[in-house]
C-alpha cells in the first residue's frame, strides 16, 4: 500500500468546495446535518419558496399521485423545449409554416424538440385536469385553502390559453381552422363579442396580426403569468399549513433519524 492516501476526483472536488471563491458563492456549505439541509433550502433564492421541513404524510405518493409536481414538470419541459424552438421560428405568414416544416426536415434535433413540445403540452393539459380532480376528491380545497383552489382554477385557464395560443403557431390547416372556430365562439359573447373577437385577432379574420398576437401571448405574456401564479400557488401551500393530508393517509417514508451523520462527513 502507498504511504500517503491517494486522492481521487471526489477529494479534489471537496477541496474546491473549501476555497474562498466557492464559499463566497455557496455560503452554507455542505453536510448532512439537519442545519445544512435546512440551509440548502432556506439560502437558495429559488428554493426558499418552500419550507425547510414538511410533514411526513405530505410526501406520500398515494395521497396526491404527485400530480401537481408532474404538472409543473411538464411546464418546465415546455419552457425548455419552447425556447430553442423560438430560435428558428418566424411568426409571420407564411414563413411560420415553412419554419415548422423545417423543424421536421432541416433543423438538427428539430423534429424531436417539436414532438416533445407538442406531447408535453397535451400531457400538461391532461395532468392539470387530473390534479384539479384529485385535489377536489381529497377535499384539499377546504378552508384555509380556498384561495389556493381559486389560484388553481386561474392556472387551469392559463394552461388552456397557453395550449390554445400555441396551437395556431404552426399555421397549418389544423391550426388555422381550430383557432377560427374558437375565436368565433368568442364573438358569441353577448354585447362585447365582436369587440373581443376583433381585439383578440387584431383584425376581422385570422391573419398575420393574429399570428403575431398569439405568438406574443404564447411566448411572453402567458408564461410570465403562469410563473407568477405558480409562485403564488406554492407560497399559499406553505402558508396554509402545507399540503392537506387525511388522517388516514399512510406515512410512507420509513422512520429514520435525520441527525445521523455518516462517518466520512464527520471527519470533514
Amino acid at each position: 500500500m502507498a504511504k500517503e492516501s491517494t486522492k481521487n476526483a471526489g477529494d479534489y472536488f471537496d477541496e474546491l468546495r473549501r476555497t474562498r471563491v466557492w464559499r463566497s458563492v455557496f455560503r452554507s456549505g455542505t453536510g448532512s446535518s439537519t442545519l445544512h439541509r435546512a440551509l440548502a433550502i432556506q439560502q437558495n433564492v429559488f428554493l426558499h419558496l418552500f419550507p425547510t421541513k414538511a410533514r411526513r404524510r405530505m410526501a406520500s405518493f398515494s395521497a396526491t399521485w404527485y400530480l401537481g409536481t408532474l404538472t409543473f414538470g411538464t411546464f418546465l419541459i415546455l419552457v425548455a423545449t419552447g425556447i430553442p424552438l423560438m430560435f428558428y421560428y418566424h411568426p409571420s405568414v407564411p414563413q411560420a409554416y415553412a419554419d415548422t416544416k423545417d423543424f421536421q426536415f432541416v433543423v438538427s434535433s428539430g423534429m424531436f424538440l417539436r414532438n416533445l413540445h407538442r406531447w408535453s403540452a397535451h400531457a400538461m393539459v391532461f395532468l392539470v385536469f387530473a390534479h384539479m380532480f384529485k385535489v377536489f376528491y381529497r377535499g384539499a380545497y377546504r378552508p384555509p385553502r380556498e384561495f389556493n383552489w381559486v389560484i388553481g382554477v386561474v392556472l387551469l385557464l392559463i394552461t388552456l390559453l397557453l395550449s390554445y395560443t400555441g396551437y395556431l403557431l404552426p399555421w397549418d390547416q389544423l391550426a388555422y381552422w381550430a383557432i377560427t372556430v374558437g375565436s368565433n365562439i368568442a364573438s358569441a359573447v353577448p354585447v362585447l363579442g365582436n369587440k373581443i373577437h376583433f381585439m383578440m385577432l387584431g383584425g376581422n379574420a385570422v391573419n398575420a396580426n393574429a399570428l403575431l398576437r398569439f405568438y406574443v401571448l404564447h411566448c411572453m405574456i402567458l408564461p410570465l403569468a403562469a410563473l407568477l401564479f405558480v409562485a403564488i400557488h406554492f407560497w399559499r401551500i406553505r402558508k396554509d399549513g402545507g399540503l392537506y393530508t387525511h388522517q388516514s393517509e399512510p406515512a410512507t417514508i420509513a422512520s429514520k433519524s435525520t441527525s445521523t451523520q455518516p462517518a466520512g462527513e464527520a471527519a470533514r
Binding site: 481521487n8 430553442p84 430560435f87 428558428y88 423545417d102 432541416v106 433543423v107 438538427s108 434535433s109 428539430g110 424538440l113
Partner: protein, 169 residues
Amino acid sequence: MAEEKKIEKAETGPDFDRRGFFVRLGLGSLSIAAAGTAAFAYQFLSPNVLFEPSPIINAGKPESYPVDSVTLDANSGIYLIHAQEGFFALSAVCTHLGCLTAWKPELNIIACPCHGSKFSVFDPKKTPGQKIEGPAPRPLPWLRTWVSDEGDLMVDRSTDINPMQFVRV
C-alpha cells in the same frame, strides 16, 4: 514467478461502498447526459440552412466592362475591375470593420467612409487592393473570378485568391 501468482484479493479494485457506487453511477450518467446535450445543443444552434443569397455572382458579359473601369456591385459587395492585364474582382467590404467602400475615380483610390482607409487600384507601383493609409489591417482581398460556359464573368465572394491573377477574355 511464483510470487506474482499470489494475488491479494484485498488489493483488487477501488474501495467504496454501495452509496459511493451509486453516487458515481449517478454522476457518471449525468455527465454523459450533459455532454450529449451539449453536443446536440451545438448542432441544433448551428443552422443547416441559411436565408442568405448565394456567394456566386454572375457579373454579366465581359463586353459591358470597358478597359480601366471599376464597377461596384453594392448588392453583392464586389468591385469588377477591367484592367490592362485583364479582369479581376476585389471585395468591396473594408477589411477594418466591414463598411462598404467607395471607388473614387478622381483620386484613383478606393476609400472607406467609416475610418478613412484608402486602397490603391491602378497605381503601377502598388498591387490593386493594397492599403495606402488608414486603420485597415489587410488589403482588400482578390476574389476568385472566372468565365462561365455561357461566357459570363463569375465571381465567388467566399473564396479569396492570391493577387495579380487576371482573367483574360
